[in-house]
Structures are given as C-alpha cells and as structure tokens.
Subunit: 253 residues, 2 copies
DNA sequence: GCCGTTACTTGACCTGCATCAAGACCAACC
DNA sequence: GGTTGGTCTTGATGCAGGTCAAGTAACGGC
C-alpha cells in the first residue's frame, strides 16, 4: 500500500525530504548524484515516486526471492540488507541510510537477491522499476543517472571485498566508523557524534568478524582514546588516529 | 585503435563469435541473457560494436582511473580485474572469461575503478558506452538487458563477499573451481578438465588467501582424490565431493 | 644446452581471531 | 520488586591460516 509522495499541483520546486542534500533542486535524496536533473525531469519523476508505508524496527521492506517491482530510496531511519547462505546463516551485505537507494540487486533475476530489514523506525520512497525504465527511455539523463547509481553499488561492494580480504579487525571497524561518519556529514549531521542503528552482531556479520571481536576492538579503540563508545553511542575523539587505524582512505565525496 | 567487428552488409544472421553460446541469434556472447534480443536490435548493436585490438598476456585492457568510454565483452582468452589499495597492494575483484562483460565499474565516476589485465592472449568486443546509451534510449529491451547485466555483477560481488567473510580456505577454493567449471560448461567446454589461466598468486589474492595456503589446499584436495592438479591443469575427479567441500551452491544456470 | 627468474610446493613456527564460557547490563513484562 | 531474554563485555584457550624459510619445477632468453 503506497500513497502519493505529495500533491504535485501545488508543490514547491525544492527538495521535499526530511533531510537536506547538496543538490538543491532534487526531490530524490541521493539518487541525486553529481549529475543534476533538469526541473522538467524532476516533475516527471515526482509522478512515479510513491511514499512507502512507514516501517517499524525489524520490519522487512522486501525479502529474498520476493518479486522485484521497485527500488527504494531511504527517507528516514536505516536498513540492513542481507542474504541467507545455503546453510541458513545470514550475511549482511550493506547498511542503508537516508538518501541512499536500495533494491537494485533484484533487477538481474526479477526477484530480490537480498532481504532488507529496518534497523529502526523508517520511511522510504518507492520507485516502481517499470515506470523508472519507461521514464529513462524518454529521458537519457535519468537513464545515465541510474546506471551510475548501480555502478556505484558495484564499486562499494568491491571496496568491501578488499576490506574483507586484506584488512585486520581493527582496520575493518575503523573503516566502517569512518564510512558512517562521512555519510552523516553528507547529510549535514555530525561527523563525530552518532548513534549506531545496528547491533554488534550485525557489525560483526557485515565485517566478517564475531561479536566478541567487535566488542574487543571497540574497547581497545576506546582505551587508545580514538573513540568514545557507550553502547550504541559513538564519539570520534581523534579522527586522524582513526584514519591511521583504518589504513584505508574512506571517500568523503 | 579498433576495427569494425564485421562487414554488416554481407553478414549472416548468426553468432560470429569464436565460441558458441546458448542464444542462437545473438552476436554478443553472454551479453546474451535469458532476455533474447529481436533481430532488429541485433543489427543495430552490430553497428556500434567494434572488435578491439588483440591483447597479449600481461597487456592492460584499461587501467584504474582511465577515462571510461566503453564496456568490453570478452571474445577469447581471459582477464583479471583488480584495484590497487591505498597502500599499494593489489586486490583481484574478478576473473572474466569469453562471453562475459567487463568495465561497468567505470560508469559511476566516468573513470575506471579497476584495472583489467589479460591473463593470456585475448580478444574483446568493444562497446562504446555512449552509443550503447543512445541505443538503449531507442530500444527499451536493450536498456533492461543492460540493467540486468549490471545487477548480476552486483549479486556476484555479494556472493564473493559472503565467501570471504564466512568460508574456510578449502571452501573458497572449491567454490572457485566450481565457478570456473560451470562457466566452462556454459561455453560448451569440459566442466571437469580445464587449464587455470591465472596464477596461484591471483587466486590467493582474489580469495583473500596467501599463495602458500592455495597451494596447500590444492595438495590436500589432490590427496583426497577430489581434484587432479598438475600446475595449471585441473581435473575434477569427484564433482559431488567438491560440492560438499565448497559447502556453497554454485549457480549452474 | 645453460642460466636466471619467477612460479609453485612443502615444512616449521607463530599469531590474530574464533570459540567457549561466564558475567554484566538493559528493556520489557508480570 | 523479580524474572526473562536479549545484547554486550571480558577472559582463557585453541586452531586455521599467515609468515618465514628452503627447495623444486617451469619458463624464458641466449
């Protein structure tokens, strides 16, 4: 069940989201990439985008092998995407924050390859893929836009691959903290103080570590006065030191 | 420097590649997904596709941060894609065989995120991305086709992520052997006897293992009479056992 | 053929993280 | 208040795979 995003007849020509993004004339969050869309394109997109129903913590946005119908831009809250391995375990493949787009894993087979679960109360924009395809055909800019979005997903996955295959536990955790920090900064939120929406279990799962290791690394980084950790509340005390620990350059775009 | 794939005026309406693929009316190798293209579409694609110059072992097809202009379908030979980490090490992100498409990592930033290097003498089809985009605008089927290709790349990367974060050395190697085997089968080559085009170093790098471990695992699997390994020549002696070792279902499509 | 170089294998040892185990904290609920 | 069930932390121990080292096989160049 979806309701229209807004009444387009009276709508102002600016971002209607709950957060501010750099592109001043975009209504789509980070679907908004360097390549800005013309006003005309935005109006047409508005026609097809719908506001998804609100989700509570633990609710699924979609599940593995569900029919693929739409991609989703996160409006508020956060999500984890995960796939279930053949022997029934879970592999977290990504965390999604406001302004990020999820669900593109479903295009290949017309059914979702991952499940997406809300980590807290959350809201999304639903973008029906068929409409998006049709519109892309009419609007080459949008098509390229969307290609870029998918390509970006590929490069991000490849960064995770590198992290998993080359880096130590401390480097992985530090890299994740830096990634969350920079995604916060992008949304004009604090880059140094934030609340982790996900559990230690999810962090460990995502980074290929056990909960115990995650916990130990947090303790160690706290002892070194790099981070201040109290349960889910994180404060980056020494950004430079954290970057040194990560030993990886996290893109700050 | 590229030369036209073939003289379209006299061309027969069938696959012109060095290998056979399942889709009988496609000239593009595995760009050919379940979604078959109409004859009309194929003719139009033919117009924009070019045969790339032949590559020798060690030659680069493109390098990290090269301008992104085209994607490439492998015609013969094989490639590895890799990215260089901030501290100068290499991370192999994939191997590409005939009929597979590479280079889509470049779309996001209009410059390649990976380098691609020939593992042996190789040939490719070059598909200029601008032409492809333009054509997709005219041909919705082609657009969807290409979206699927990219989405597939995402799911494959996610499988690798899972492999790296959850599986043992033996499981990883077994999974890679099964993957190569099934990709061979797809090209109507032997699924049990093949030559690995890549070095142990590359295998280790790709799977997040050291050369020594790769070597030891091969020896162990040989002792167990699962594989026959002589340098790069592999024979799968016991497919069922190999699948058990992998503990992961490898898609055979 | 010989030589130099690089790829591969095997062994001995060591370490980072997993595993096992116990306890602390926290929130929900009766 | 107490109980229950989850998440998080910390310690003790073990092992898969990394590191170091030495040797062998394969491949090119001359």
């Amino acid at each position: 069940m979806t309701i229209p995003l807004r009444d387009t007849t009276t709508a102002p020509r600016r971002c209607t989201h709950d957060y501010q993004v750099s592109c001043s004339n975009c209504r789509l969050g980070t679907i908004c990439l360097p390549l800005a869309l013309e006003a005309d394109a935005i109006d047409q997109l508005d026609e097809i985008i719908q506001r998804g129903r609100p989700l509570q913590k633990g609710d699924h946005l979609y599940r593995e092998s569900d029919d693929f119908k739409s991609v989703f831009a996160v409006r508020s809250g956060s999500f984890k995407a995960y796939r279930t391995t053949d022997d029934g375990r879970e592999q977290v493949t990504g965390f999604y924050f406001p302004g990020e787009v999820m669900g593109m894993d479903g295009i290949a087979k017309n059914s979702h390859a991952c499940s997406a679960k809300a980590l807290e109360t959350a809201a999304v924009c639903e973008i029906p893929f068929n409409s998006l395809s049709d519109l892309s055909v009419k609007m080459p800019t949008l098509q390229r836009h969307f290609f870029q979005l998918m390509s970006r997903e590929i490069t991000e996955d490849q960064q995770l691959i590198t992290l998993l295959s080359k880096n130590t536990a401390e480097e992985r955790i530090a890299a994740l903290m830096l990634s969350i920090s920079s995604r916060n900064a992008r949304r004009k939120l604090s880059a140094t103080n934030f609340r982790l929406p996900m559990s230690r279990i999810d962090i460990g799962n995502y980074l290929g570590l056990t909960v115990e290791t995650v916990s130990r690394v947090f303790s160690r980084l706290q002892k070194l006065e790099v981070l201040q950790v109290s349960n889910k509340e994180i404060e980056i005390l020494d950004l430079k030191a954290l970057q040194d620990v990560a030993n990886v350059i996290i893109e700050t775009e």
